[in-house]
């Protein structure tokens, strides 16, 4: 039987194309235009060519912010992924306790970003905050507003508190989808708990873990609100990540040209990483389908 060719689907896709054009493509084109020009009074533009790109790529400011950003993403992935798996493994499998755990674990995810920043800002304060007060009473000289290490530790703790739940919930869903036949076979073989995890659970979690790594990496790479509310990028520039630096440049200094060039480079890095993750995910899906 000959297959009917129907092009009407293109018309159905048109609203999405228009929406993406207005929300993404046109603003992106504007950013590209701005990145090659200098602006005065906000609306007088002068062509400067590649000057902003050259200036930014040779400035320590961009590389320092990128370094801090990569380090932050690396640290939180290193903590959140194993911790999320561990929590998922420890959660009850069924019954009312499982439902209660799910609700409690999902709670941090429901809190808006700026509220999380505010909670931790108060929580960590050495004069009135519970965490700050306890640490000082224990003999630590903790002050996230003045000490770079304390600021980093607090920002990381805040992100771990906010987002480990996501990894835990994804891992839990992955664990629940493993057929019980695998566990029965492991029991017959008298496999240890570690072997069950290493040879059954971890391989079966591969798909959801890649999604978790992708989501957490992208989100941490674009983090802005929480550290901005908590530390404002300080002390000094200690917690000035890429997006904080970008906003300082675009809104604080109103340097639209350099900020546009910065945005485009930031976007390209995110696009590259997303593409790599996407490709890996697709190839894993194909491998699993073949199996």
């Amino acid at each position: 039987m000959e297959k009917t060719v129907n092009q009407r689907a293109w018309i159905l896709v048109l609203p999405v194309v228009l929406l993406v054009a207005f929300s993404s493509v046109i603003p992106m084109m504007t950013v590209v235009n701005y990145s090659f020009q200098d602006s005065f009074r906000g609306n007088d533009f002068f062509w400067v060519g590649l000057e902003w790109y050259s200036e930014l790529l040779r400035s320590e400011r961009l590389w320092d912010a990128l370094g801090r950003q990569l380090l932050f993403s690396f640290i939180i992935l290193l903590i959140e992924i194993p911790l999320g798996i561990l929590i998922a493994l420890s959660m009850p499998k069924k019954g009312w306790l499982a439902s209660l755990c799910l609700v409690l674990i999902a709670l941090p995810l429901l809190i808006p970003y700026n509220v999380v920043g505010t909670i931790w800002q108060i929580f960590g304060r050495s004069d009135i905050g519970l965490l700050g007060r306890v640490l000082i009473d224990l003999g630590f000289s903790y002050n996230y507003a003045q000490n770079a290490f304390d600021a980093w530790a607090t920002v990381i703790a805040m992100d771990v508190w906010h987002w480990t739940s996501l990894v835990a919930l994804l891992s839990y869903a992955g664990l629940r989808s493993i057929p019980s036949a695998y566990y029965q076979a492991a029991k017959i073989d008298q496999a240890s708990r570690w072997s069950v995890f290493r040879y059954i659970e971890l391989p079966k979690l591969r798909g959801v873990l890649i999604i978790a790594v992708l989501l957490r990496f992208m989100d941490s790479f674009m983090i802005y609100t929480e550290p901005f509310v908590l530390t404002g990028g300080g002390p000094g520039n200690a917690t000035t990540f890429l997006s904080i630096d970008l906003v300082k440049m675009a809104l604080g200094q109103f340097d639209l040209g350099p900020a546009a060039a910065f945005s485009l480079m930031y976007f390209l890095v995110i696009l590259l990483i997303s593409y790599v993750f996407y490709t890996v995910m697709i190839s894993i899906d194909k491998d699993e389908t073949k199996q």
């Binding site: 235009n33 090659f36 590649l50 790529l57 480079m265 590259l272």
Partner: protein, 90 residues
Amino acid sequence: MEWMAWTWPTALFFAAIAAALAAMAVLHVKYPSSPRTGVLGIETMRGDRFFISLLGSAFINLAWIGLLDAPQYWALVVCAVFAFCVFRWV
């Protein structure tokens, strides 16, 4: 459109990208491409190779600006060679 701060070079750049996308669409209709696995070990179609070429070219241009003082059009030559390699072997 004034708020978008258009210039001739950027308008030409976007027109070139749009023309390339249209050409790829026409090519796909006339000569549909089939997936193949190249040197990167991933399955790619013609559109994927085009995307990799564009993304790689952006980074080649940035590296050129950041590392060298040579004229930028030489970077375009490198990009063309890169795109040829991607379409041939990826």
